[in-house]
Subunit: 98 residues, 2 copies
DNA sequence: TTGATTTGTCGCCGCTCGCCTACATTAGCT
DNA sequence: AGCTAATGTAGGCGAGCGGCGACAAATCAA
């Protein structure tokens, strides 16, 4: 999902945290930040430290990506989208739907 | 491209800036930050303000997105990936390859 | 409702940010 | 080489961060 503002970050972090059934306290420990900081980032703090934000995303197992002119789609080390065997998909479909 | 650390942010911002032929001064003005700040973020400053980072990405026309468990692929307002007419693709393929 | 957990808010305080000006260094020209 | 623009660095400054402990308020379960 696209992220345009610090408020978006807050909402998504909170959403992911709840989806994992974590409390602010647990997330704070896991991300090595204060609980207070979690409260603030979830509220959309603009002046939050970039590094802590990324620690938090990592603690939630979330990945961040940038796209735009002049930025390659992936890095060498990144795993590209898995190739799809269209033929197999179509065969399977024919077998089940008729 | 995936972004895991503040250093990644720096490299990508610099890369995008150069791809647009902008100087640090120009980017700084466009993003409403100090030139000094651009120097630091490009060097991978961990404690940079989240808000300014996003202003800068916006000034470079870069988009940020988050992915992971519990985070929807897109927001209502976001434009989904364009649907592909597989039939047309296959037809075209057959026409050219045989 | 009651009790317990979770979340939000407050004040304090050391530390660092980010802007500014000015200077040093490096790149990119002809 | 020589000049100019661009980039990196330094010191100083006000402002705000983020951690802490302690409370309030809200949420949830039985």
């Amino acid at each position: 999902m696209r992220v345009n503002t610090p408020v978006d970050f807050g909402l998504l972090i909170r959403q992911a945290r709840k989806a994992r059934g974590m409390t602010q306290q647990q997330l704070a420990r896991s991300a090595a930040v204060g609980r207070q900081w979690i409260v603030e980032i979830e509220a959309g703090k603009r002046r939050a430290e970039l590094g802590k934000v990324m620690q938090t995303l990592a603690a939630l197992d979330l990945t961040l990506s940038i796209r735009g002119e002049g930025i390659p789609e992936t890095r060498k080390s990144e795993v590209p989208i898995e190739a799809i065997d269209l033929q197999a998909v179509l065969d399977a479909h024919r077998r089940t739907s008729r």
